[in-house]
Symmetry: C2
Subunit: 366 residues, 2 copies
């Protein structure tokens, strides 16, 4: 099972529909705050680092500027981000080049094959000022012809690994992640295997994008991560994942779900430190780091049901593929019950929050 093909749209967790108590509309003040900060960083970064002599050199009467969102999932977040990027690009364009030919944007929305492109297309803003296209496929491989993109963007997607590292679910490996479903950071061999997978995936991503982005082109990455020196098991999200793992073990022990399936289940997610991320990008060598900022986000207290719906929107597809659709319902029922009983111990135990890394890269001109 390739995660690249089965992941359930990392970003869609924020998108519980409607305007009820569990909805995104009612529970998105955090996301909105992060977006404001991100937009400001993007805006500044684009204006300071984008050089229009390069992107437009190939055209005479019009300048076409191509943007791609890697791991776009559904709207409206991707539409908002693309609009903000275009605003910044346009401002820089007109500031740098007076009497310049009109700028036309082509925006590519990429996500895995399983993504719902039909809905994405139907929800495109009706008056978008760009030419839209959808590009299906895993972003850990090539998706565009050489040197055809001017700006790449990827938000909340790259902490999803292309797959669970094989060793951690191999009972015969020293890296077997016995009794845990994530890279909590405490077992060295497990952490090594996860970190190696993350490095491989990031390298594949950077190599593919290096081919696709023109020299001087930009890439914005927003990725979930850890503060330096903090382990996953010390964070709120890590403790929650561990709690979820213990629920699965309970259910296996009482024979409700298969023990073997629980043993072989791990989350294909890795939260990296800024240091680790920086090292990977520098070793890769195709991009120079223009910005690397940490976005902190104090997590609000939420009701149990809301936690469950967020978690379910994230992992339902993954769990369904592993445990079967019927067991997924049982699993979430049990999790909800247990979480209600243990709310304080789960959510007050974590003294640390995970963070988001904001990275602005520039493709080195060969």
């Amino acid at each position: 099972m390739e995660n690249g093909e089965t992941k359930t749209l990392p970003k869609s967790w924020a998108m519980v529909g409607g305007d009820g108590p569990r909805s995104y509309a009612q529970n998105s003040s955090y996301q909105r705050e992060v977006l404001v900060i991100v937009n400001e960083l993007m805006n500044e970064g684009i204006k300071e680092t984008l050089d229009f002599k390069i992107p437009c050199s190939d055209s005479s009467s019009t300048c076409t500027f191509r943007i791609a969102d890697f791991g776009c999932s559904g709207g409206p977040n991707t539409f908002l981000a693309m609009e903000k990027i275009m605003e910044a690009v346009e401002q820089k364009y007109h500031a740098q080049l007076q009497n310049s030919p009109p700028l036309e944007f082509q925006v590519f929305f990429n996500d895995v094959m399983a993504n719902d492109f039909n809905t994405l297309f139907k929800t495109l803003p009706s008056y978008q000022k760009y030419f839209a296209a959808g590009v299906p496929g895993t972003f850990y491989g090539r998706l565009f012809p050489k040197s055809t993109l001017h700006l790449a963007y990827s938000s909340y997607s790259l902490h999803w690994l292309s797959k669970v590292p094989q060793e951690v679910v191999d009972t015969k490996s020293p890296a077997w992640n016995k009794g845990s479903i994530q890279c909590s950071g405490t077992a060295k061999e497990v952490a090594k295997a996860y970190s190696a997978q993350f490095k491989t995936d990031m390298d594949n991503f950077l190599n593919a994008r290096a081919q696709e982005i023109i020299g001087g082109g930009l890439m914005v990455i927003i990725i979930a991560g850890l503060p330096d020196g903090i382990l996953m098991s010390q964070t709120v999200v890590g403790i929650f994942n561990d709690f979820f793992g213990s629920c699965l073990l309970d259910m296996a022990k009482s024979g409700v779900i298969s023990e073997e399936k629980v043993d072989t289940f791990n989350l294909p997610v890795y939260l990296s430190s800024a240091k680790e991320l920086e090292e990977i990008i520098k070793n890769n060598g195709h991009f120079c780091i223009e910005r690397l900022n940490r976005l902190d986000h104090p997590m609000m207290k939420m009701k149990v049901e809301f936690h469950i719906s967020l978690f379910r929107a994230l992992y339902q597809g993954l769990l369904g593929a592993h445990f079967g659709r019927d067991d997924v319902d049982k699993i979430f029922e049990y999790l909800a019950k247990k979480l209600a009983e243990n709310y304080d111990s789960v959510f007050n135990a974590g003294k640390h929050q995970h963070v988001e890394h904001f990275v602005l890269l520039k493709r080195i001109i060969n």
Copy 2:
């Protein structure tokens, strides 16, 4: 109601699934024969008219060649056509330019918003040698940035009008198409209205593509049409449509469906003569005609059920939008019954077949 948004994928009629007696696999010898002729014409035409100094001028280390299928509907026809085009382009490329940099293809699959892009993406050949993208929206408007396409293709799509001309369903207009559901060619005012709509649509299509295709770039159009001097009402398909119209009138008279709805129903389809098509393209002025061939196709005798399924796959969406989903079932039941009773008189009355026009255009360099 814009036909551009509600048409039910012109080409999907050939795609009855599986391998049963009604399936495409069992009933596609005609389509396969046409494809063989079309492929040969395309292959020759591309090799003779494509000039690689132009498409590749903007790139140094790689040459990106962009192809778009306008009105692609579902696979596999569009995939096969794209492969054939790429083969011809590649052969010409290597013949014209020795020691040339590698050629990379980007293929854009366009159809209306209502098209099932999810399935299109999932059925993409697993080893395709190109970078694929989906582009939603009506091809009667702009869909791509200026001068970014090298070759455009549109097959069995442009005889679908963007809408039914308003006059023909306006009971107060001299062009009211009373008692008929198509442009049968006998009523002058009706024919004028249909022809004007076709001209407007083709003009919009050509103008949009003229912006998007680079100077010297090619466009292949395969479009259903009529032999010169033959009226729709003299062709097998025209007689079938008239028969279908008479069934609707029967049903309205007996009160099964609304008379008003039958009066206001017309097919948004227009079959043009080669002469008419040529005139529109010449008047438009953005393209020169490199080839204009007529493809004849002797239609095989088919069983009633097969006729019905083809017709249903074509028009179900359109009829559903106009009459309501429940009435559609009734309509097809009635049509099947009546067609079985009148098979010979319907299918032996038409002495003429409609044709397909094969057109190869070259974008004039400004």
